[in-house]
């Protein structure tokens, strides 16, 4: 056996791509300037996405394929004047689709996906350190008979673990170019780009037929019968899947397309296979593994170093029965500490920026509808969402670090038993945990959950976790209404207990909700829980940075579009109908006085003008559309212990829950610039009464208001993220409806029970 001396003795410099394919001309005079479509596919944990980023830089665009939750990720690059579009396909162990989502990959590769160009070349990314299993997928790809390149990623760690791969021999055996690379370190990337240009138009040198010859004979006869009366014949690979994958997605689709002829024909053909000693699914897997292990035997030499690997030593500690959970809790603690401590100054910075822009606009425009729209509507609304960006970006950062280092899978492994109790799996833990800071990154982190049903249920319960935007509401109500009692001899503060209860109520209610959703709503998907624990690796700065950048950008873009529109809508319904002329006049006058020299007389005048302004603002809000709605729903919210003012507050805070504080500020004629510790707001709340003179804010009302805020879907960002992640309006609408109903019922029960008890 000839081993490549370059590969075995000098680990650092990468080999030139070995290609057994005859090159047709120089890359510079490639077929034409036509855009080439290149698909990237590979097993999970092979660094496929890192390679995609290394090839396309930060020019990735994401979207969804119609009708499924698969993310469509494409990137553009130009290499030697040739424009190339890369399509990043979801990580998969095989091309045997067992769900609609997995079917997308097969459709794209076969050029059957609507609105998707024909594929010019496939890059199959494999973990060089774990080639045998990766060859299973490659074997299926080779049967598509498309131009294919094998990228041997993580070349460095394969060498470090004592593996020596004879690249040119492997390339010769496979009949396709094989390119070693290290996507993390950006090594071998140009080789891969060259290989793309050289491979386009060149199908594999020999047909790959790893299954017993009788299978191909039967397949051919079956394909002829199936295709004989069709204008566009089914591709042979699709028919192969139809035969091999019992109850698979191809079978479902093709039976639906040929309900008359196919069922009998399919059963008869499968029986024929069984008669020939073929077992489904056994023979395919064992034939393919026979092929790959033989190939490995001929091309890879291993020096048995990888048993006592770093990963094994680290796992001994990280997955230890006692130390493992302790270490995990410590990591969670660090993450949450930093989100609350590090994000604080950044949030202050964002608020400062928002204030500066608002001041700039205010100073260049006279008070009027346009200024009000810009300052009170758009800047306040979009700013109110963007203020969460530092926190969200920090969470994205931690999630990316956990994912890239390989620890994420360990967390899922340790938490699986706990989550199985909810009918979910271990991979749901981190998204739900993140949702305690903010549901947006939590929902985006569910992408690692490969079971469709578990992912959907996780997305639907994530907004129930108590996020940081609920905190100001709890603090205001608790500080105002809950007496500062201490229980158990000064050890426990009643306010602290109530705060803890409010922070946990969503999580507690999420348990039965998850079980119900799983049982009744989300169609079942029999995928077993299979978790690969990848080798640990040092997170790469580039990978982590690009992931944080991409996800944050996606959030900002959303804030810029639909959230922007919602903001304007809420501004309009809280401003109109109403004649704001007088209010604007007072505002101008206040600003003039503020600009002039401050004498005691002027200060006094300013104060009275400010009071008049606040009173007018309160009147205008009460008479606006949202104010009228608040009055209209007063009978509905009365059983919750609320008056119309709280009703308006709740309505106005549907786009973003923390808005209630500013809204209450305006409605109590205190102006919109109040916060949860404002003395004025606290005293206004304490003295507020119903028309009959009884106080509005009692302990039961406070509790019912907090419970409502704990359970309600008052966050446009979250709903839009759900829309984006599930690729349908059905789920955000469902979330909104179920959470609103849940919040109303729970608030009603709390008020009714507590007002009888207290």
């Amino acid at each position: 056996m000839a081993y490549s001396p370059v590969a075995s003795q000098h680990p650092a410099p990468l080999q030139q791509p070995a290609s057994s394919v005859a090159h047709s001309g120089h890359p510079d005079d490639s077929p034409s300037g036509r855009l080439l479509h290149v698909a990237i596919i590979g097993n999970p944990n092979t660094g496929k996405s890192t390679l995609f980023n290394a090839l396309s830089g930060l020019n990735a665009r994401t979207g969804n394929y119609p009708g499924v939750t698969v993310e469509k990720k494409t990137g553009r690059l130009i290499w030697k004047n040739q424009p190339i579009e890369l399509i990043d396909l979801p990580g998969t162990y095989s091309l045997s689709p067992r769900s609609l989502d997995e079917m997308v990959t097969v459709d794209i590769l076969l050029g059957r996906q609507a609105a998707q160009q024909h594929i010019d070349a496939i890059i199959c990314v494999a973990d060089a350190g774990n080639l045998e299993r990766n060859l299973y997928l490659l074997g299926q790809i080779l049967e598509l008979n498309l131009p294919t390149i094998l990228a041997l990623n993580m070349w460095d760690s394969a060498q470090a673990s004592g593996l020596c791969i004879d690249v040119s021999r492997l390339s010769e055996k496979l009949g396709i170019p094989v390119v070693p690379c290290e996507a993390h370190k950006r090594r071998g990337i140009s080789d891969l780009k060259n290989a793309i240009l050289n491979t386009v138009g060149q199908t594999p040198e020999h047909r790959h037929r790893p299954l017993p010859e009788t299978f191909y004979e039967i397949l051919q006869g079956f394909a002829q019968q199936l295709n004989q009366n069709r204008d566009t014949p089914y591709p042979v690979y699709l028919i192969e899947r139809l035969l091999l994958d019992q109850d698979g997605e191809v079978q479902k689709r093709l039976l639906a397309e040929n309900p008359q002829t196919l069922p009998a024909l399919l059963n008869q053909t499968r029986q024929h296979l069984r008669d020939k000693g073929f077992s489904l699914p056994g023979t395919e897997a064992s034939s393919r593994y026979l092929w790959s292990s033989e190939l490995i035997r001929q091309t890879v030499k291993s020096s048995e170093k990888h048993k006592a690997s770093w990963t094994e030593r680290l796992d001994h500690f990280a997955l230890h029965p006692y130390l493992g959970p302790v270490f995990f809790s410590f990591i969670m603690l660090v993450i949450f500490q930093s989100i609350y401590n590090w994000a604080e100054p950044l949030i202050g910075f964002m608020e400062l920026g928002q204030g500066t822009i608002a001041d700039l606009v205010s100073s260049s425009l006279t008070p009027g509808p346009l200024r009000s729209l810009l300052v009170d509507g758009i800047i306040a609304g979009v700013g109110g969402v963007l203020v969460f960006l530092p926190q969200i970006a920090l969470l994205f950062l931690f999630i990316a670090l956990l994912e890239d280092s390989g620890y994420m899978a360990r967390a899922a492994f340790m938490m699986d038993r706990l989550m199985a109790g909810l009918g979910l799996n271990g991979k749901s833990f981190l998204p739900l945990m993140s949702s305690f800071a903010c549901a947006v990154p939590g929902i985006m982190a569910t992408r690692t959950i490969d079971n469709h049903r578990d992912r959907l249920v996780t997305i639907l319960i994530a907004p129930l976790m108590s996020c940081s935007a609920r905190l100001p509401v709890y603090l205001l109500i608790i500080g105002t209404l809950i007496p500062d009692h201490h229980l158990v001899g000064n050890w426990i503060s009643l306010r602290g207990v109530v705060l803890l209860l409010m922070n946990s109520i969503g999580m507690i209610i999420a348990i039965p909700i998850a079980i119900l959703l799983k049982k009744f709503l989300v169609s079942s998907d029999p995928a077993p829980f299979l978790l690969e624990l990848p080798r640990y690796q040092m997170p790469s700065f580039r990978v982590v940075f690009s992931r944080v950048y991409e996800r944050s950008l996606a959030f900002v873009k959303r804030a810029g579009t639909l959230i922007f529109a919602t903001t304007i809508l809420i501004w309009a319904v809280s401003s109109y109908p109403g004649d704001h002329t007088q209010r604007y006049a007072i505002e101008s006058k206040i600003e003039q006085l503020q600009a002039s020299e401050q004498t005691p007389a002027i200060s006094a005048e300013l104060e009275s003008l400010q009071a008049e302004f606040n009173l007018l603002s309160s009147d205008l809000l009460e008479n606006s559309l949202i104010g009228q709605m608040g009055h209209a729903i007063a009978p509905i919210v009365r059983p919750l212990g609320w008056d119309w003012r709280i009703g308006i507050g709740a309505l106005a805070s549907f786009p973003a829950r923390e808005v209630i504080i500013a809204t209450l500020g305006i409605i109590y004629s205190l102006g919109g610039e109040v916060d949860e510790s404002s003395e004025g707001l606290v005293s206004a709340i304490r003295t507020s009464t119903f028309p009959d003179g009884t106080p509005v804010y009692t302990i039961p009302t406070g509790l019912s208001l907090m419970v409502f805020f704990a359970l309600c879907a008052q966050c446009v960002s979250t709903l839009i993220t759900i829309r984006r992640e599930t690729n349908s309006w059905r789920w955000p609408i469902f979330s909104f409806v179920y959470m609103t109903l849940l919040a109303y019922c729970a608030a009603w029960i709390v008020y009714q029970v507590m007002s009888r008890l207290l």
Binding site: R98, R133, L319, P321, P526, F529, E532
Partner: protein
């Protein structure tokens, strides 16, 4: 004959056959659970379930219920 969920830490076994429904069977075979291959029990999770195995250079965790569907022949006694 025993199954994967009955193995002890450090034990090695040879896979003899896979029971269970089509979905499980397919997925396990695709990632290399092929009769005749060697598999090592690495550890169970701190809460007892799932369990982690080493097979053909990969670490794979399965729930005990699924692991019980994979029949094996022990090739080495437990290290104690």
């Amino acid at each position: 004959m025993s199954n994967l969920s009955e193995m002890q830490k450090g034990q090695l076994a040879k896979i003899s056959s896979i029971l269970g429904d089509q979905g499980l069977h397919f997925r396990l075979m695709e990632i290399g659970f092929i009769p005749g291959r060697c598999i090592e029990f690495l550890r169970s999770a701190p809460l007892g379930d799932p369990v982690e195995f080493f097979i053909e250079g990969t670490r794979i965790a399965l729930r005990r219920a699924d692991a019980a569907q994979v029949l094996v022949e022990l090739v080495q006694p437990s290290r104690g």
